[in-house]
């Protein structure tokens, strides 16, 4: 898993006819979309519109009932989270998924250990601290660099469970970035962050992520954050993508205004 993968012709992520039902509820209905490499795409929609289901299917947590997911010209439909992560698709979570009893630094070191181990290094007889593949630096140095990129250096020795909400989010994203993914899916990266800090936090996250050349898809409910951060917006409603385009155009779309933003009442 590495951000320095081979460039692909066409979209790096392509989804065709993706559908998923939970009983009577259609969480995804025949979704077709292609995502260009190194783009920043915002996913908007009301709760239950299908955004997180979409992320869960792309990252292998849920198997789609129908449809096909192609990543870098490779069919990844039905692969599990571990396999998709190793291929270069990482995610953060709405509720941060951390190693609560470990310190911030230990959280990162666990992740770096996984990278080292997946590369076949760092076994029982390996001497000293191995260089982390893709970073060309020892683990400790890479950890410091990552923590600095996400403004987590000052709390490196604090247990993850003791962190404030915003810092937990940042650590969650830092953990997702450790494997230098080519695609990063962020589920509500600024939830739990105060309104005044949202823009700065989002700018920092995107700065760190884009420095690695990753493609970003993020779920967000704050339309100002979406407009400022995204290059393209996908609006979800009832398991379908009802609008796809530049942020201003999508946000001004009457259907999106009515069904997603909630500015215009539904016609009777």
């Amino acid at each position: 898993m590495s951000g320095a993968g081979v460039a692909v012709d066409g979209p790096i992520l392509e989804v065709r006819g993706l559908s998923k039902r939970f009983g009577a509820v259609a969480a995804a209905q025949d979704i077709d979309v292609g995502i260009a490499e190194r783009s920043v795409v915002g996913l908007i929609g009301a709760n239950g519109a299908g955004k997180t289901t979409f992320i869960n299917m792309v990252t292998g947590y849920l198997k789609p009932d129908a449809g096909r997911i192609t990543y870098a010209s490779r069919d990844i439909t039905g692969l599990g989270p571990r396999a998709t992560a190793r291929l270069g698709i990482a995610r953060s979570f709405q509720i941060p998924q951390l190693y609560g009893s470990l310190t911030v630094l230990e959280n990162v070191m666990v992740g770096l250990g996984i990278v080292v181990r997946n590369a076949g290094l760092g076994g029982f007889f390996a001497r000293g601290r191995p260089h982390v593949p893709g970073y060309d630096a020892p683990e400790g140095e890479v950890a410091e660099r990552l923590l600095a990129a996400f403004s987590l250096l000052d709390c490196r020795n604090e247990p993850a469970r003791a962190l404030a909400g915003g810092l937990r989010k940042l650590l969650d994203i830092a953990l997702a970035m450790i494997g230098r993914p080519r695609i990063l899916l962020l589920d509500e990266p600024t939830s739990g962050v105060s309104t005044e800090e949202k823009f700065a936090v989002m700018a920092m996250i995107l700065g760190a992520v884009r420095a690695e050349g990753a493609t970003v898809l993020f779920v967000e409910h704050d339309m100002e954050v979406v407009e400022r951060s995204a290059e393209r917006v996908l609006a979800f409603y009832d398991g379908r993508i009802i609008a796809d385009g530049e942020p201003r155009a999508v946000l001004d779309d009457p259907g999106v205004q009515r069904r997603v933003v909630g500015a215009v009442p539904e016609p009777r």
Binding site: Q97, L98, S101, E106, G113, I114, F124, L175
Partner: protein
């Protein structure tokens, strides 16, 4: 970076045992050797506990190690501890590798009870096995080491010395393993398996490896206990034996690879003193000791020293 004192502490403990062990009376050499054997099993439990897995059936591998050593001794008419321990390790590793495919899928109480059930299956098989002495078990030859046959007066010390060297080696190997990427994964698996999988690691494979390592450690303990006592029987797999190991692991804590050995020595002391004072109610004393440790030292006896060493 904090200096790693563990290898030096293990070396010092080994030297103390090798030098001081000679001066001890045989009965104390015996108790100390049994404590080291039990410490190896408790170390295996501590390894699993770091990943959040509590085995109520580690006596399975303790007993398997002892029987593998005993059967090897009978087959080849040898009391060589090195040969017996090698056979114990091989039998345990193979069994754990196969059973690991099942156990690595389970967590929490399911893992604990499944491991208990497996140990009781071995107990049942041994009890019904006439060839292995059924409930009586069988005796094993007097211990020797790499072709050297110690005299009656020194055999206890030789077994203690072998147990000390093996325990020190195992402690250092586990300490080293915990620093590897795979070893570091244990607390991460305990805390959040979802994140482990989303970072590209297999929690199940990591648990499987830990289970095999833990089995080998427990089997080494069993082989040493067999050589020390000179007799093995199915009770070594009985659930109360597993309970003793859990008792020692909780008493000791997981703060260091030396903690299980300290816990086993303290357990042996409490057990011997309590039995000497009151043969009918010694369990009451043991239970009270465990209650006190859980109430006042929830991280085990080792945390006493750890608190003193850490700056206020």
């Amino acid at each position: 970076m904090k200096r790693d004192r563990t290898p030096r502490a293990v070396g010092a403990a080994l030297l103390a045992l090798l030098a001081g062990g000679m001066l001890l009376p045989p009965w104390l050499q015996f108790l100390l050797t049994i404590a080291l054997a039990q410490g190896l099993v408790a170390l295996s439990l501590a390894l699993l506990l770091r990943a959040g897995l509590l085995s109520f059936g580690q006596a399975l591998y303790y007993c398997l190690g002892a029987y593998a050593a005993g059967v090897a001794g009978q087959l080849w008419h040898t009391g060589d501890m090195v040969v017996q321990m090698a056979c114990a390790c091989a039998a345990a590793a193979l069994t754990a590798w196969v059973l690991g495919y099942l156990l690595a899928r389970y967590r929490g109480i399911y893992f604990g009870l499944l491991s208990l059930a497996l140990s009781m299956i071995l107990y049942g098989l041994l009890v019904k096995s006439e060839a292995l002495g059924s409930t009586d078990g069988f005796n094993i030859p007097r211990p020797s080491v790499l072709g050297l046959h110690p005299q009656e007066s020194t055999v206890r010390y030789v077994v203690l010395a072998v147990a000390a060297v093996v325990s020190a080696g195992a402690a250092l190997a586990v300490h080293r393993y915990l620093e590897t990427p795979l070893g570091r994964l244990a607390p991460a698996i305990r805390d959040n398996e979802i994140r482990v999988e989303y970072m590209g690691a297999s929690a199940r494979a990591a648990v499987h490896v830990k289970y095999v390592i833990a089995a080998v450690l427990a089997a080494l303990g069993g082989a040493i206990a067999a050589a020390t006592v000179g007799h093995i029987d199915p009770d070594m797999a009985y659930w109360t034996t597993s309970g003793e190991f859990v008792f020692i692991a909780i008493l000791a804590g997981t703060g260091s690879v030396l903690a299980p050995f300290l816990g086993a020595i303290v357990y042996g002391l409490i057990h011997s003193v309590a039995y000497g004072l009151s043969p009918n109610t010694w369990q009451l004393t043991l239970g009270s000791a465990l209650l006190l440790v859980i109430a006042f030292l929830p991280e085990g006896l080792w945390s006493l020293g750890a608190h003193r060493r850490s700056p206020s």
